[in-house]
């Protein structure tokens, strides 16, 4: 049984988590709260955010927002910070569309890129600026093994995640002077709302996907705990890296 004793202590630290209504983002928010951190949980779906905040009323502040609209959620961010800098963020918001080349739609592809990549970069810009930035902060952008390995039908998603992995390298060099760290986390297949939706595109379905992961499928908690490590001071010498967590999928 997983221990309920938190491994990390994020007392008095404030974080922003996007994509917090479901899947990995939601679990990152939960684990941060269990580790005594405070979280501004951002997502579009109010009801799901409300149930998350209900679980940790003292620690999780829901923020219903479109993550691609930085200007719109900035006031909520500043209010949450309350004049103090933030300790970091996890950008887990993302969308996926299965589309072989002949079904490619540029508007869909641009939406995938805007959400996973550019919204994340813009969030980091805000969090590293004069109002909210501070030495010792740590940021994470969620990537994917799809950004490392070609997968038919996932051109837009894979290219987006590869771009996330590289953006983190450039940003790490820029932010090192401020002693701010940033890393990417690349999970394999984790059963979530998003991957459940994707699963119907795979003939042979769940079974085949499981077989491709030597340790079986992971859980949002597996990924969240890696994220917590990277957010913690234990990872103080780590920046610009990509962390694959895939049960052996890419081995």
């Amino acid at each position: 049984m997983p221990s309920t004793v938190p491994i990390f202590d994020f007392s008095d630290r404030r974080f922003v988590v996007t994509g917090a209504s479901s899947g990995i983002g939601r679990e990152v928010a939960r684990q941060l709260a269990l580790s005594h951190g405070h979280v501004l949980a951002m997502a579009r779906r109010a009801e799901l955010l409300a149930s998350l905040a209900q679980e940790f009323p003292q620690r999780i502040v829901p923020c219903v927002a479109d993550v691609t609209d930085t200007a719109a959620f900035k006031p909520a961010l500043l209010q949450f910070a309350g004049g103090a800098p933030l300790a970091g963020s996890v950008h887990a918001a993302g969308i996926n569309r299965f589309a072989p080349l002949r079904a490619f739609q540029r508007s869909e592809a641009e939406r995938i890129m805007a959400t996973s990549l550019w919204a994340g970069v813009d969030l980091v810009r805000l969090l590293c600026g004069p109002e909210l930035g501070t030495a010792g902060a740590s940021h994470i952008l969620l990537a994917s093994v799809s950004g490392l390995k070609g997968q038919a039908g996932l051109t837009a998603y894979g290219a987006t995640k590869a771009a996330v992995i590289h953006a983190v390298r450039s940003l790490a060099r820029e932010l090192a002077g401020k002693k701010i760290r940033i890393n990417a986390v690349s999970p394999g297949w984790i059963p979530t709302e998003m991957t459940e939706e994707m699963q119907r595109f795979y003939p042979g379905g769940a079974e085949k996907i499981v077989q491709e992961h030597p340790l079986g499928l992971g859980t949002p908690r597996d990924v969240a705990l890696l994220a917590l490590y990277l957010l913690s001071d234990a990872a103080q010498w780590i920046t610009g890296s990509n962390f694959v967590i895939d049960g052996g999928y890419s081995a």
Partner: protein, 71 residues
């Protein structure tokens, strides 16, 4: 009907005029796994219908696919 034929043709990379509803899918050279998931993805976008790879696999005639998107 015409929209379906265009979409089906695009998924199989064939000419719309060559799409015959009474044709057997397995007799069509373009009908492979990529065509099937492309069809699935296009139906999502154009019809807002969420089919699964399994549902499509059961179809025998082109017409069976047409019926799926009429649901």
């Amino acid at each position: 009907m015409e929209k379906f034929r265009e979409l089906f043709a695009q998924a199989l990379e064939m000419k719309t005029d060559d799409v015959k509803l009474d044709a057997r899918l397995k007799d069509l050279p373009g009908w492979d796994s990529i065509a099937a998931v492309s069809f699935l993805a296009m139906v999502d976008g154009d019809y807002g219908i969420k089919l699964t790879a399994e549902e499509i696999r059961k179809a025998v005639l082109v017409e069976d696919l047409y019926k799926l998107v009429q649901k």
